[in-house]
Symmetry: C2
Subunit: 269 residues, 2 copies
Amino acid sequence: MNDAAAHTPASPPPTPWERGRPARARVSARTPLSRERVVEAALTVLDRQGLDGLSMRQVAAELGVTVSALYAHVRSKDDLLELMYTRLFDGAALPEPDPERWQEQLRDYARTGRERLLSHRDMARISMAYAPFTAELLPHVEAFLGLLRTAGLPDRIAAEAGDLISTYIDGFVLGETMWRERAAEAAGEDAEDASDHPDVNGMAAEMQDYFASLPESDFPHLHALAGLMVTDSADERFGIGVEIILRGLASYLPDAAAGRTVPSEPGHD
Amino acid sequence: MNDAAAHTPASPPPTPWERGRPARARVSARTPLSRERVVEAALTVLDRQGLDGLSMRQVAAELGVTVSALYAHVRSKDDLLELMYTRLFDGAALPEPDPERWQEQLRDYARTGRERLLSHRDMARISMAYAPFTAELLPHVEAFLGLLRTAGLPDRIAAEAGDLISTYIDGFVLGETMWRERAAEAAGEDAEDASDHPDVNGMAAEMQDYFASLPESDFPHLHALAGLMVTDSADERFGIGVEIILRGLASYLPDAAAGRTVPSEPGHD
DNA sequence: CCTCAGAGGAGAACACTGTTCTCCGAACGC
DNA sequence: GCGTTCGGAGAACAGTGTTCTCCTCTGAGG
């Protein structure tokens, strides 16, 4: 990644006058296509085209290379997707469990987990399909379970809480991004009558209108909650979900009977 | 589905002696390919081949029909997948909210939701990709939110709890089935050395061996919990996850301060 | 300076996929 | 009886992941 060679953006066009040059210059210009570079190019394509537009041919084109060249560094597309996913954990620090601060640590874990999935387009979809622990990620799973166990949770609870929290993070981001993409699609076709409201909030307003149009007698609860679902920021909603889980976990602590240990977040009571 | 015509299984073979018959007989023999029949055939193919083996051509073959005929009744493959998903809700009863029994009702909701996803192969994957409420499912979403709101939960909590529980159900079943499929794959290639342990538990034993092989000093928590994750039945683990969420929700009830309302399930304390 | 082995990318090919186009043939109303 | 309409047939298009063979270009040895 931090090679001395300057980053050659997407394979220099053959530049006819360069054809006669000594071959040596050309080789040093096209850094020799390591596995890292393939993964990086794939992430670039992913961010630009989305998961549905991510094909091996697109990745090859991004590198100015033919498809077959990719298969020398990557076993299959599934393999590539797995590499892309594990790459997100590269610089991640492993939290050292502190029984006194387990709730803050869990909140941090959830927050950084969500940010990781948001760092590249459609990453939540990839995560859902290839999540179950690959060997490289075992240290992260270990550290996470360590947080739960040293907090004093019973083993069975800790084991299932791991699944629960990971699942919630993935699912939340998946819904969050799918909503955004759907909004982008809708904004694309409604280009004409979306003249007065900006692109992003256009969908929100449209959703609110839709819920408002439902017969209130048949859908009183949807009617009451739709405003919240549309209005509240995703960060806020995510925080609430995490808090529900944390409170549930806290109720399993040995001293839970002696009074709630949960230092209730301001504003959600 | 319950047409008077006997269910013709996968398009009767052309039966040479029937070819000479008046065309009228042939038409009544091949029930005219309604949208229902396409969905049903798709579910058959899904159960047999899995989601990756579900192609429009396979569905057409299942019906003894060409691909283009399908597109007269279904807009696209995505449309078909959505129809397959909403079909699972066909006979589902809408629970009437009972504030006294909200916890049992939520448990029931989770249980039937999981069973629904387990009723057809790879349904959890389809659910994750096309879940956000289609119009036909709004009554179910409404009833679900009704359970939470009439229980006395604050609106913001109820709104996010809906997402949380749905996400957990989908994610749990997804992991559950992916594990099973991975075990089936592994059993396929390990056909030789899997001579003494039966197919299904083969993977479990293998996983346990794998976790046992990890350096215990580096992965103490995984070491301690792996047994539970492998040993415990999926039903048990699912129940625990639901219980964690329920306890978290209960802590938001107005009378939660006066003592825990959670009638603790026997065995998980 | 020349030759020779070897690695790595090029290009074509295969078996698929979802979707759409045109066309035919059979059933119905008049 | 004729004409119209509609649903299915079949071929086609553009794209996919993957693999095969071939060729070129590089670096080492003489």
